[in-house]
């Protein structure tokens, strides 16, 4: 400790000079203090000496005398002066510090122990005691003194960093202990962080390096990795009974696998075995000290399961997890733990980091204490795991331990991005051990990072010469060779690396295959990757790639399945389309009133489309055979184009379909209708002839075939359709059914069946729709029956006759419904505005059918209402 510092310290500790002294002594004291302030040590010493001579009990004068003598370099005299006031703490402290300066540690310790008694065990004195005992070589005593200060001290002390530095210097062989001491000191006095940072960093590097040296984790082989994956899946699915035995068997097989221990910790924690989980995590940490996830898990475990008793340790674990691994959730935990240990400065910093990193709210429950008091109480009683002891790992045979440690120090520097230091350590290590493979590999990595590719290649190549079976080194070398443009060598090296089991090389090959859309190859290569990796930088990326490949492959097979289904089902759909929908007859059955519109369209098809257009096709065919193309060209003009016959044909078909839709009938004329199906097919064939017909090159045989289909068969079929849909055979049953319906009406309930004479010749048919005819007959019979009942008669007669038109030769069937009622209506009365007597419907329907209705005489009856409907001659044949 410097004399100047001592002077300042003592100076600031003294009271108002000369208080309570007689005048002469005070005069000397005041003068002495002034000289002391001016640095006149000798003058001051003479005057302080006068004061003590005059007033030997005035201890401030002894102290100041000692101070100025010390300043003047007369240490022995100073000590004598300070000892003149053995009960003045300032003097005793000054004397002790002077003894420290003189390396007389026993004496110093005696002074400080007295000082401790005089100051009622001021914690700061512990530091002085620590300095003294350290001087005596008692490092443990010094550390104990620091602990006592840190435990009891609340005021900062300038002695703390001195003592910590001094102790640390003694603990080079125990860096972990030293680091703990430094960290404890920094925690107590955060302003020491900067002062002690260099010391701390050195110990951190040392501790990490030693950790790494001792870690020596053992990698799992491919089957073991598969079992680990299986266990992880079981854990994720909550099947602990499946996960635990798998992990325990793996643990027994590969005791130095950090992955297995970490996974086992998860299972144990889930099962409530917290001590077991902690033990597993401590082992995982020891085996893989660089894995931040293990540190984070340990921090989490300590923060949540022990009622807050080990928050400092948990905080350390989170801080370690955050080294080189910025993470919003971990920063949140760090802030939470900092809050719990009362370090609000740290909490502030951690929160700021969290906010800078966070993309959403923090993950809850990761490091918070339980809120259930019962759980909390149980956690406070929970015992900790006994720290595991891992057998030390010696350096590889023939490797100098110092070089080995230096390589690991380099690794730590590299992890800390302190490349220069890392390189310096490596160079030192490789100087003594030029073939140290780990050192060469690290150097290759460092040089790659620094852009010295050629140097890196040299380091890796040398490494491979020493140990040719290093897949990952080959992979790194491959990348370098590629960057240097030595592509062939690079590819060969990467293949070698993959074959050697390099996860990186296998992943890169899988990625390359995936990019080239070689999905199966990529999947195989990725399987190869997962055989050798169950964690690491590429693991997450590989998992994503595997999911993507699975998705693509599943998508491919899905597409294949769809294609197969399509191949199988398309014909079914085609068949369904052919079978779906109805023929025209369905429309006519369902909606009899559509008959007239159907008839109009069908008639137009016959007359407008077929009659004057298609009928010319045989003539066109003849002309073409005679070498005359002109009629073909003429026919083409009539058939094609927007107003051509084919377009009109299709418009009429569209009208029919529209008519069907309006009546809730989906027509399928093409596939379901025996008349229109062939017509449409033939019309399509005709449409297909457009170019050849226009060019006069159509084949006559084709035209004749089309003409036959359209103009012969189609034309006749349409005619039959027209006839068929509206022809009703006049049989007695038609009339009986109408009478039965009339008698079933409420108005005629209880009425006896009239005396009924029915004369229906065989083979007569009328051109009227069946439903219409029924309605007409019901209407006529009802009217006749009502009139007869009114007249007190019970007789009805129905007789059929034929009437022929002279000019057209058309015949009409007369349906004469006779009764005995007085003749109160006339033909005029049942037509037009005179419609009455309930015959309006019959009048309307006969008119629609092209018939007529009259009131006429009827032999044997009073009258007859006569309906005339066109005879359907075809219907009688």
């Amino acid at each position: 400790m410097s004399a100047l510092w001592l002077a300042l310290l003592i100076g600031t500790a003294r009271g108002e000079p000369g208080d309570g002294l007689p005048a002469l002594a005070r005069s000397f004291f005041t003068d002495a203090v002034q000289r002391q302030g001016n640095g006149d040590w000798r003058g001051a010493a003479l005057r302080f000496q006068k004061v003590v001579d005059l007033e030997p009990a005035y201890t401030p004068a002894w102290c100041r005398l000692g101070d100025v003598l010390a300043e003047d370099g007369r240490t022995t005299a100073a000590l004598e002066a300070w000892e003149g006031a053995p009960y003045d703490p300032d003097c005793v402290e000054a004397a002790g510090r002077a003894e420290l300066e003189l390396a007389r540690y026993d004496e110093a310790l005696a002074h400080f122990e007295r000082l401790s008694r005089l100051t009622s065990a001021d914690p700061r004195v512990e530091l002085l005691i620590g300095l003294a005992v350290l001087g005596r070589g008692d490092v443990d005593g010094a550390i104990a003194a620091v602990d006592r200060f840190l435990t009891r001290g609340s005021e900062p002390s300038a002695d703390l960093p001195d003592l910590v530095e001094a102790i640390a210097a003694q603990l080079q062989s125990e860096p972990e202990r030293a680091l703990t001491l430094v960290d404890d000191a920094i925690r107590q006095q955060s302003d020491l962080a900067e002062r002690l940072s260099a010391v701390r960093e050195a110990f951190v590097v040392e501790v990490r390096a030693i950790e790494m040296m001792g870690a020596a984790p053992v990698a799992l082989d491919a089957p073991q990795r598969r079992r680990l994956e299986q266990a992880r899946r079981a854990f994720a699915e909550g099947r602990m009974d499946a996960a635990r035995p798998l992990l325990e068997s793996l643990r027994d097989e590969v005791t130095r696998s950090p992955e297995v221990w970490a996974a086992l910790a998860d299972v144990r924690e889930a099962e409530g075995d917290i001590a077991g989980a902690e033990y597993a995590l401590l082992l995982a940490r020891a085996l893989a000290p660089q894995r931040s996830d293990v540190h984070a898990r340990l921090g989490q475990l300590l923060a949540t399961h022990f009622g807050g008793r080990f928050d400092r340790e948990a905080l350390q674990a989170f801080e370690r997890a955050l080294e080189g691994n910025p993470d919003a959730d971990l920063e949140w935990c760090r802030s939470e733990l900092a809050r719990r240990v009362g370090n609000f400065e740290l909490m502030k910093r951690a929160l700021a980091n969290h906010l800078a990193l966070a993309e959403g709210p923090p993950r809850r429950g990761m490091c918070t204490l339980p809120t259930d008091p019962a759980v909390l109480a149980r956690d406070l009683e929970r015992t900790r795991a006994t720290p595991p002891v891992i057998p030390p790992v010696d350096p590889p045979e023939g490797v100098d331990p110092e070089a080995w440690l230096a390589v690991h120090r380099a690794q730590v520097h590299l992890d800390n991005d302190d490349d220069a230091l890392a390189l310096s350590e490596l160079d030192a290590a490789l100087t003594s051990q030029p073939d140290l493979v780990k050192g060469l590999n690290l150097k290759g990595h460092l040089l790659t990072k620094g852009g010295d590719r050629a140097g890196a290649v040299a380091a890796y190549e040398r490494s491979l010469e020493v140990d040719p079976d290093q897949g990952n080194v080959m992979a790194a070398l491959s990348e370098l060779l590629r960057a240097l443009g030595r592509n062939d060598e690079a590819l060969a090296m990467r293949d070698r690396a993959a074959a050697e089991g390099s996860p990186v090389a296998r992943f890169l090959l899988a990625q390359e295959a995936a990019r080239a859309n070689h999905w199966w190859e990529a999947r195989d290569r990725l399987d190869g990757y997962f055989e050798v990796a169950s964690s690491g930088a590429l693991y997450a990326e590989a998992t994503v790639l595997r999911d993507e490949l699975e998705w693509r492959i599943r998508g491919f097979w899905g597409a294949v399945a769809l294609t197969v289904l399509a191949i199988v089902f398309l014909p079914l759909v085609w068949m369904w389309r052919r079978r779906a929908g109805s023929p025209l007859s369905r429309l006519l059955e369902r909606s009899p009133r559509s008959f007239r519109e159907v008839a109009r369209i069908v008639s137009s098809l016959r007359h407008e489309v077929l009659k004057h257009n298609v009928s010319a096709l045989p003539g066109v065919a003849d002309a073409l055979e005679d070498g005359d193309p002109e009629p073909a060209m003429w026919a083409a003009e009539r058939l094609y184009g927007k107003s051509g016959a084919i377009a009109r044909f299709r418009r009429y078909i569209g009208e029919l379909e529209e008519l069907g839709r309006a009546n809730q009938v989906a027509l399928n004329l093409r596939h379901r209708d025996l008349v229109f199906g062939p017509l449409l097919a033939a019309m399509d064939r005709l449409a297909g002839q457009e170019r050849r017909l226009a060019a006069g090159t159509a084949r006559p045989a084709d035209l004749r075939a089309i003409s036959d289909a359209l103009n012969q068969e189609g034309f006749r079929a349409l005619g039959r359709l027209l006839d068929g849909v509206c022809v009703v055979q006049l049989e007695p049953s038609v009339f009986e059914a109408a009478l039965a319906d009339v008698l079933a009406e409420p108005a005629f309930r209880g009425t006896a069946r009239p005396d009924w004479s029915l004369e229906v010749p065989d083979g007569l048919a009328v051109r009227v729709f069946r439903g219409d005819l029924h309605d007409i007959l019901v209407n006529l019979l009802r009217n006749a029956l009502e009139a007869s009942i009114e007249a007190g008669e019970d007789r009805l007669g129905v007789r059929l006759d034929l009437e022929e038109d002279d000019i057209t030769g058309l015949e009409r069937v007369e349906i004469r419904v006779a009764d005995d009622a007085p003749r109160r209506i006339s033909t005029a009365m049942i037509r037009g505005r005179y419609i009455e007597r309930g015959l309006g419907l019959a009048v309307d329907l006969t008119s629609r059918a092209g018939g007529s209705i009259h009131v006429e005489d009827e032999p044997g009856f009073s009258k007859a209402v006569v309906v005339r409907l066109p005879l359907a001659e075809g219907g009688s044949t």
Binding site: V614, L617, P618, D622, N711, F715, G719, G850
Partner: protein, 149 residues
């Protein structure tokens, strides 16, 4: 052969002239009265007679709408349509009433009405028919047979 084509349009005349230019002369008359006049002027070996005349004015239709309307409950619209649809037969009857025995080939399909056709033949021979969809060569053949017979 000089043939009078009585039709309300010109489709038959045009088609027949195009496809049967040799051996035939096709002369068109656009209505019943026109056809009667043409036949009256002479020089035709036969008449090719359309059945349906729905493109001529009412005064060019043979037959009486008022009396025909009785067949249709007094509806003149249906009566006119009846005259239009069967105008060929009204023209044929008028030709025969006027004393013209010229062979007539009707464009109409009587295949389904043999009894009716037989009666018409009995009344109006020489007469024959071909369905509307007959090709020009069918028409030529039928006319040849009708005139030759």
């Amino acid at each position: 052969m000089r043939v009078l084509v009585i039709e309300d349009g010109s489709e038959y005349t045009e088609t027949l002239s195009r496809f049967l230019p040799d051996g035939f002369e096709w002369v068109r008359a656009g209505s019943g009265p026109e056809g009667l006049a043409a036949v009256g002027s002479g020089g035709f070996a036969a008449v090719f007679l359309d059945m349906r005349f729905d493109r001529v004015p009412l005064d060019q239709l043979l037959g009486d709408v008022e009396s025909t309307a009785d067949r249709f409950n007094g509806d003149p619209v249906q009566a006119r349509q009846f005259l239009e649809d069967h105008q060929g037969l009204f023209v044929l009857a008028a030709l025969r009433d006027a004393g013209h025995g010229i062979p007539v080939l009707l464009s109409y399909d009587f295949d389904g009405e043999p009894r009716r056709w037989a009666k018409l033949v009995e009344k109006h021979a020489p007469v024959d028919y071909l369905p509307d969809n007959a090709s020009p060569s069918d028409i030529a053949a039928k006319l040849g047979a009708l005139v030759g017979g």
